[in-house]
């Protein structure tokens, strides 16, 4: 969070000193890039980069659907991207301006094509899983040495949660990711759009909600690293960033990330250019810069997320490419599931369910 604020203020300073009209405005997730890349982009291209951050797809989507966001590059996740493409929020990419496009990884491109047919509107920036980050020492203290840290039972079984509540649990404030997890725990299809099936997630989540300290999508990084909480259901790279911050602080906190063995959500964050982008030319330059194998590798080495760039893999550090929490093994890939966007009516059911789970009303 601190880093996001720094970035944001840096963005304001950059914005204030922008002398020329040649600038590109990028709206990306918080804690999601190596800041040195931003300076490098400006030095290499002479284009002023204005870099803002968000921490929820909903906020981005509202800006996209309102139109006139003023951004040249935005980074929605797959399901959100798909819906926004239908709404006409993006312009098709001009591959002629993206010579580095050949670096992309077909394994990921095949999966993202489910959201963006033919990958006509977007490139994959990073992908990851939604799983559990745990403070190993504290969780074992509470649940014993055989604590199910790689199972959905850790967070979906009220008996475990009751004990964990004392040391603190955060869960992503993202219904489209947590409701599928509850369905996976029940053995239902996580991508179900049937309101009756979705409703089955409610008693499971309502039973554990009293033990959740907070539903939030970015605070858990610091909270895990500082030892304020012992479990967070969060995004793979964010948890690994927390692990590294704790190691740097040398505060005795040991963090581990695990995807759930019953199945975890695999998601894709895609870079796309809004239909009304003020400077699509510079937006293409930015995308091409990101797709450079060295730059993409630098980004992944920094944020601990896997990327969709095959050429970059030669430049990844061993603790990134060799870590199955980031690049899952072939076998683990098989247990991951993806989801598709909810239609408006089902979305309403999901949001209402989520409010009920969180507030009890």
């Amino acid at each position: 969070m601190k880093k996001s604020w720094l970035l944001l203020s840096a963005a304001f300073v950059m914005g204030a000193t922008a002398a020329t009209a040649d600038e590109v405005r990028v709206y990306n997730w918080s804690d999601y890039i190596d800041e040195e890349l931003l300076t490098k982009f400006e030095e290499e291209t002479g284009i002023d980069l204005i870099y803002d951050v968000f921490d929820s797809n909903e906020v981005l989507e509202t800006k996209m659907l309102a139109g006139g966001s003023g951004y040249d590059v935005v980074v929605p996740s797959g399901t959100f991207l798909q819906r926004q493409i239908v709404a006409g929020a993006f312009q098709p990419l001009d591959l002629g301006k993206l010579p580095n496009h050949g670096n992309m990884w077909d394994v990921i491109a095949e999966r993202t094509a489910a959201y963006d047919p033919g990958n006509a509107y977007s490139i994959n920036y990073m992908w990851g899983t939604t799983g559990a980050g745990v403070n190993v020492g504290k969780v074992k203290e509470v649940l014993g040495d055989d604590a199910p840290i790689d199972s959905l039972a850790l967070i979906m079984d009220p008996a475990n949660m009751e004990k964990l509540a004392a040391c603190g649990v955060h869960i992503l404030d993202a219904p489209a990711e947590i409701i599928p997890a509850a369905l996976a725990y029940l053995g239902e299809n996580p991508d179900s759009h049937d309101p009756d099936v979705i409703a089955k997630a409610e008693p499971v989540l309502s039973a554990i909600a009293p033990y959740v300290q907070k539903f939030h999508s970015s605070e858990y990084i610091n909270a895990l690293a500082n030892g304020d909480i012992c479990v967070a259901v969060g995004w793979s790279g964010d948890v690994l960033q927390a692990r590294d911050r704790a190691a740097e602080a040398d505060n005795g906190v040991e963090i581990a990330y695990n995807a759930f063995k019953e199945g975890s959500l695999m998601w894709f964050d895609q870079m796309a250019i809004p239909a009304d982008a003020p400077n699509p030319e510079a937006a293409h330059t930015f995308l091409n810069f990101i797709m450079d194998e060295h730059n993409m590798a630098a980004a992944s080495n920094y944020v601990y997320y896997a990327n969709g760039n095959e050429a970059s893999q030669a430049h990844l550090e061993e603790d990134v490419i060799g870590d199955p929490a980031i690049y899952p093994t072939e076998e683990a890939l098989g247990t991951l599931y993806t989801t598709t966007p909810y239609p408006a009516k089902v979305q309403r059911v999901v949001t209402r369910l989520w409010t009920k789970i969180k507030s009890g009303t």
């Binding site: 909903e58 989507e61 304020d228 309403r348 409010t355």
Partner: protein
């Protein structure tokens, strides 16, 4: 003509800053959600002239308002906001009145400094001040550390992410709006009235009750409205300091707007909120007018 011009300025102000935005929101609340930019339908197409206007008009309906009655979430959120706003106002009054009273009784040369102390926090961004409360109230926060080092408590108190934190945040943020009107009422208070009351046999307490309080009434009413009205629709404070159980209409509105992408229902929620607030606003206006007349 000149006079008309003078009068019309505030009305133009009201038109531009209140009526026009309200009509836009009202218009959206009567439309239906759609997957498009902007995400609702019908949109007004003026290029088709009158036909476009009538087509647009016929696409509007009250459906979203009837929807609000089908789910008790909205009703509960309005009531919960009402409760939080009312209690916050009472708390702000209990804290603010003694401050204003003390200020008005302070020696003349102190007053500018005291006034400065009330206004000074406004020079810092509202958001940063609310964030600061997170650092104070959290489990490992300043307050818990202080209380634990003093040996008052042995386990940290859970204040952050509860309604208590929301009350603290609202009272803190809006306290100056309570203090300043009461101070300005008390400052004008003629000391000789109190002396007269005491000469006539009142104790200091009864004099306060019979003289000071009634004369401060206008300030108390003005201050209470200035706290109550923004607290009712508050979103930032509950979302930063409150927990997931803090139900407020501002948060429900956010969910409708962002999670459901349902601008029409979000607008309907906002229109109803405004109607609820119009009652105190009208009362407030009446009170102001009365005050102005009394001042003449």
């Amino acid at each position: 003509m000149k006079r008309f011009g003078l009068i019309s300025v505030p009305y133009l102000w009201l038109l531009a800053l209140f009526l026009v935005p309200f009509l836009i929101v009202l218009k959206i609340s009567l439309s239906d959600t759609a997957l498009a930019i902007p995400p609702y339908t019908p949109t007004l197409d003026l290029s088709q002239g009158w036909a476009g206007f009538t087509a647009w008009l016929s696409g509007l309906d009250m459906e979203n308002f009837t929807w609000l009655t089908t789910d008790d979430l909205y009703w509960k959120a309005y009531l919960s906001s009402l409760k939080i706003a009312t209690f916050s106002t009472i708390l702000a009054l209990l804290v603010g009145f003694p401050i204003a009273y003390g200020m008005s009784r302070a020696p003349d040369e102190w007053r500018p400094t005291l006034m400065m102390l009330i206004i000074l926090p406004f020079w810092t961004s509202f958001l940063i001040r609310v964030y600061a409360w997170k650092a104070i109230l959290s489990q490992e926060g300043l307050l818990n550390q202080l209380l634990m080092s003093l040996g008052i408590i042995s386990e940290p108190l859970t204040i952050l992410n509860t309604n208590t934190a929301v009350y603290i945040g609202i009272v803190y943020t809006y306290l100056p709006f309570m203090v300043l009107p009461i101070y300005s009422a008390l400052e004008r208070l003629d000391e000789s009235l109190l002396e007269a009351a005491e000469d006539l046999g009142c104790s200091r307490l009864t004099a306060f009750w019979l003289v000071t309080l009634p004369l401060a009434k206008q300030g108390i009413i003005a201050g209470s409205f200035l706290v109550f009205i923004p607290a009712m629709g508050e979103f930032v404070i509950p979302s930063l300091l409150g927990g997931s159980k803090t139900l407020m209409i501002g948060k429900v509105l956010w969910e409708e707007f962002f999670s459901n992408r349902d601008w029409p229902v979000a607008s309907a929620v906002a229109v109803v909120l405004l109607l609820i607030l119009i009652v105190p606003i009208v009362l407030f206006q009446r009170n102001e007018e009365k005050q102005r007349e009394a001042g003449k």
